[in-house]
């Protein structure tokens, strides 16, 4: 394992201290339990709190600030945070309008946030993000994962909350955005969890993992490398089969890198995806290309499509001021 690190056990805290110092105008770090809040607390609005395992940076701490999150709870690398973190964060940022948890659908995240919600004596609701179409929906299983679509939920609900939406409205909007968002990814390499010290999976030179998540875990199937064009065809086929957008509908297209793939390739993927959507008669109203929901240094990328409706596009355009997204 080759990483910039002092003591693996201190990596998370040292990184959080660096994050806070580099964005001292924006962020405030609280340790033990660990959570990060806006430097300038928001006035009277629903408090948006997210969190999850670390290693997905800039998600979620890089998305704290005006127009997005009020707080985030970072767990150990790829390990969901614990209820005490969520309780402390809620205590810190709730100003009487209630707390909305935005949670990626993993057993660990769901259970920890659930226990926090049960232990809390303030109005709260939870939006579960499960945009990954690589996994089938089912009553009997954990269901689909939350991946890069989470950022989109956080952005749109963040804008609505900033504009004064109620807890119920925020929850309803979050669920709606989630139901109109679909993602799928492919990995070319694994990544190394620092505390584990070796790659989570081994993969051959001509292979890729198709339908992966964001934890360096193997995907739905392993297959031979393909030209980018064909890969994008496959990813979008799955996404569009799920969303079933009508011709002429307008979408947000998000090309998300997993960390180890250079921008030049992400833009090439965007180019390929744009051609497919054009062919399908779907308009790209907004786009986002970059490493936002990462899996440490994993090489790979995911495509996310959100089908706009009503005010969703203007919520995307609403001002945001965070470490990773700003306009």
């Amino acid at each position: 394992m080759k990483k910039f690190v002092n003591d693996v056990d201190q990596l998370l805290v040292e990184a959080l201290q660096g994050l806070q110092a580099a964005h001292s105008d924006l962020l405030e770090l609280h340790l033990d339990p660990n959570y990060v809040t806006r430097k300038q607390p928001a006035k009277k609005k629903v408090a948006l709190i997210s969190g999850g395992g670390s290693g997905h940076e800039p998600l979620h701490c890089g998305l704290i600030g005006k127009g997005m999150l009020d707080a985030a709870c970072p767990g150990q690398v790829f390990t969901s945070p614990t209820p005490d973190q969520m309780l402390a964060a809620a205590q810190a940022v709730d100003n009487g309008q209630g707390v909305l948890f935005i949670v990626k659908n993993y057993a660990g995240d769901v259970m920890n946030f659930q226990m926090a919600a049960e232990m809390m004596d303030r109005p709260c609701a939870t939006v579960l993000v499960n945009d990954d179409v690589a996994v089938e929906r089912s009553q009997h299983t954990t269901g689909r994962r939350g991946v890069a679509g989470t950022l989109i939920v956080e952005k749109l609900v963040g804008a609505a909350a900033e504009a004064g939406a109620s807890l119920e409205q925020c929850k309803a909007l979050g669920d709606r955005v989630n139901s109109r968002t679909a993602s799928m990814g492919v990995a070319l390499t694994s990544c190394t969890v620092p505390a584990a010290g070796r790659p989570t999976f081994d993969i051959g030179d001509g292979e890729m993992e198709f339908g992966v998540g964001i934890h360096g875990e193997p995907g739905r199937r392993r297959g031979p490398m393909k030209p980018a064009r064909e890969l994008v065809d496959d990813l979008l086929a799955a996404i569009l089969a799920d969303l079933k957008p009508e011709r002429g509908s307008e979408v947000l297209l998000h090309v998300n890198g997993f960390g180890g793939t250079p921008l030049v390739e992400l833009y090439l993927l965007y180019h390929c995806a744009q051609k497919v959507l054009e062919r399908e008669g779907i308009r790209i109203g907004r786009s986002l290309v970059g490493n936002y929901t990462t899996a440490l240094e994993m090489a790979g990328a995911s495509l996310t499509v959100t089908q706009f409706d009503g005010e969703m596009k203007s919520l995307w355009d609403a001002p945001v001021h965070t470490a990773a997204l700003r306009w």
């Binding site: 767990g75 969901s80 057993a107």
Partner: protein
């Protein structure tokens, strides 16, 4: 069983988990995200560090403290599940200073029930429950039958081992392995493995204790 036994059991489990590091880690790398060993080790360390405090408490309170500590230490999927297990055991043993084998078996069953409820899972889903549910049932039966410690522990270990191995042929419907679909076939569930390792460690401690 008294609190000193609990503390010894925790130490024994920690040692056993550490001894099985490579295997447990490789299992979660294969069908999970590679952190299960680290999560469980972090939990063990936190509890072992609490020994002085725990020794002062009756078993019920000790289990509750252990549960609360694990809840804020482990995280991930296993954290809330293992924490719920201990907290529920603690509640079940409230007021009992020196639980006997039957009372302990009863409390353990309540703990397993708490995991089922929290995880919305049952046997056959390729999780820790595939070891814990049958093992706990067998313990209750053997305790009711008044089995001697030696044979009880031997049978319990056999049951844990067999059920741990059985997860190899399951398709997961809960936890991360579920995302892999059929690809999880042929791999033992990491949580089932740690559960088996923990069961072994406690049994061995109890029987060695008896032998000495």
């Amino acid at each position: 069983m008294n609190t000193q036994d609990i503390v010894s059991a925790v130490e024994a489990v920690q040692a056993a988990i550490l001894a099985n590091e490579a295997h447990i880690e490789s299992l979660d790398r294969a069908i999970g995200d590679g952190d299960h060993f680290i999560n469980v080790r972090r939990g063990c360390e936190a509890i072992v560090a609490m020994r002085p405090e725990l020794s002062q408490l009756p078993p019920a309170a000790a289990f509750e403290r252990i549960g609360m500590k694990l809840l804020s230490t482990i995280g991930g999927a296993s954290g809330p599940l293992i924490a719920s297990f201990f907290m529920s055991m603690g509640r079940e043993l409230a007021g009992i200073e020196q639980p006997d084998t039957r009372e302990f078996a009863q409390a353990l069953a309540a703990g397993v029930e708490a995991i089922k409820k929290r995880g919305k899972a049952d046997v056959g889903e390729k999780t820790m429950l595939d070891v814990l549910i049958p093992t706990s049932r067998l313990l209750q039966r053997l305790a009711a039958e008044g089995a001697d410690r030696e044979s009880l522990c031997m049978k319990i270990k056999q049951e844990a081992e067999a059920n741990m191995l059985a997860t190899r042929d399951m398709i997961a419907t809960k936890g991360r392995a579920h995302f892999l679909g059929e690809r999880a076939l042929g791999h033992i569930d990491p949580g089932a493995k740690t559960s088996q390792v923990a069961v072994f460690a406690v049994c061995d401690m109890l029987t060695e204790g008896a032998a000495s």
